[in-house]
Symmetry: C2
Subunit: 337 residues, 2 copies
């Protein structure tokens, strides 16, 4: 199983990326990693001999995280680590690709270089949102496409169901529609129409779900337009960050509170772990012909290792074959109506 | 200053509502409260003589919090505490109205009974979102209207600016547009168009703001369509609730953690206070001809007292007069273009 890794993308690249790759190369059986990036910089982070199951492909350019026009960067920087890594999967020289680099560029590159699955109108950026119990909730879409039509949400639901079952290990994934209330007629024009369509076409649709219930595992897959999904994701991040910041201030304010915080340290560690993106691996870009995983920009080695493990499950379980099959069946069903 | 209070609305009505009114009657100068609801039940919660500045208007019906069709309930239950309270302000027998009852019914009743300000196309439900510093952030709209046009967002911005300055005491309110990134061209069709309009017409517009930065006081007023605003608000609520639930489990898991939690109790109290809706009073429904304040459904007496204080500032500072004036100026400006 060959995984192409963009070694130059991310806040801690290439150090954390190389370190994560080394960990994964030791931990997972049958993995072959292709580190794409500046060879000298990559080698600098490999102490001793390079393991047999890691190879390096040298590139000369880097797409920066603050690139002004990410989509153009993909077309312009032809010898960047991200473009070459994406081309490797497109040319079937690798089975999957991972990058912690610029999200906009990776999404654009995913569509331009690896192409969409036939019949999938729009790919979806699909992170797992932490929940206090269970395996987290897969949300599609959080920003690959800002506006969406009801038919897109139906495809997101189908893709999310396949991914949740095959990669997250959820036997019977429950799909919810992100909305402002649980009643059927709630919402805006999009959600009202989408509700009717999902109810009709999706056997595992459980109805509308509210943003405040998602961290409590109310369902396994949530579908929404990319704008709303992005607001959802960043609201969770912002509130968690705000609470942790206030707690930190409070807990370091005196000797007494520092002692109290020491006693509670294991509990805090478990809480942070529950809320930590690194535990959930990276974010798949679903709807493309190859498995493309966007790791968090601030990924450490542990997050990269987890993202590689996730890429392996993604490939082994043939998510893309299953999505292609179901989109074809959907199309046939529509043609027969 | 006469404030009509729907004594029968809310999870803890009428007890908490009457108790909050009694506290406010003692705390605020020049306040006269009209408690609207079942007289017998209201009197049951008044120990001893009723203060001179509280009067009771008896009603026989109640709009329930789980009313299936809230808007119809407003038309049907003509002798409900909420309808009569709203009519009191419309007939200028009260200066403001407060209800902790059914939100949908209160919004519908606000528009049907008290009417919109001339020139305001859509009213906005405008809660204050807690922030870790400062006075919180006013968000318009979180669900009075699901879909919005750029012109609506401009009116929300104008109304929010007036309210933040006059009631929240923010000298120069900064208005942000809720979006998926801070760059100018980000977002969906609505935000792209709204950005251009706000940039052109609103001197205190600071640009796009992201959901993750709002709890850190990145601006004083946020404008968005009601669907997105509702997702934002409920995501914050959900994540805070999830974190507090995990912390509670962790902190009560052993004698050691219980002792640690005891040492940190004042810090937790301050955190909860920072995140507590009750501290911020109720949610104004802006754009109506009378001050209408929706208190949280789970309001305790303290929250009701704060909402009454807020209603007093709302009336005294003539927010509605100022909004009427600015909407007229906006209209003149447009006509001259």
């Amino acid at each position: 199983m060959k995984i192409a890794v963009d070694a130059m993308g991310g806040d801690h690249a290439p150090g954390a990326i190389v370190e994560g790759a080394l960990q994964a190369a030791g931990a997972f059986a049958d993995v072959h990693l292709i580190l794409v990036g500046d060879e000298k910089q990559i080698r600098h982070h490999i102490v001793g001999d390079c393991p047999d199951n890691i190879e390096i492909i040298h590139t000369t350019e880097v797409i920066e995280s603050d690139e002004k026009e990410p989509a153009k960067a993909i077309r312009r920087k032809r010898d960047s680590s991200m473009v070459i890594a994406l081309e490797l999967v497109h040319e079937q020289k690798a089975d999957a690709v991972i990058s912690a680099g610029n999200t906009g560029a990776f999404m654009a590159g995913g569509v331009f270089i690896t192409k969409r699955i036939e019949g999938i109108e729009r790919p979806a950026l699909s992170p797992i949102i932490p929940s206090i119990a269970g395996k987290g909730t897969l949300v599609l879409d959080v920003g690959a496409n800002m506006d969406a039509k009801p038919e897109n949400l139906l495809q997101y639901a189908m893709m999310g169901t396949v991914y949740a079952r095959k990669v997250m290990g959820v036997e019977s994934p429950r799909v919810g529609l992100l909305n402002v209330g649980t009643e059927e007629k709630k919402g805006n024009e999009l959600t009202k129409e989408a509700f009717v369509l999902l109810e009709d076409k999706l056997p595992n649709f459980i109805g509308n779900v509210e943003a405040r219930d998602i961290p409590f595992s109310v369902c396994d897959v949530v579908v929404c337009d990319g704008f709303s999904g992005n607001i959802l994701l960043k609201s969770y991040e912002g509130m968690a960050a705000a609470i942790f910041q206030v707690l930190k201030q409070e807990f370091t304010s005196s000797v007494t509170t520092k002692f109290g915080a020491l006693l509670l340290k294991p509990g805090f560690r478990r809480l942070k772990q529950k809320m930590d993106y690194a535990e959930y691996g990276g974010t798949p870009l679903l709807g493309l012909q190859s498995p493309c995983i966007k790791a968090h920009g601030s990924s450490n080695a542990y997050a990269i290792k987890n993202a590689i493990g996730q890429a392996l499950r993604f490939v082994q379980s043939d998510v893309i074959g299953q999505i292609s099959k179901e989109v074809l069946e959907q199309k046939r069903g529509n043609d027969n109506e």
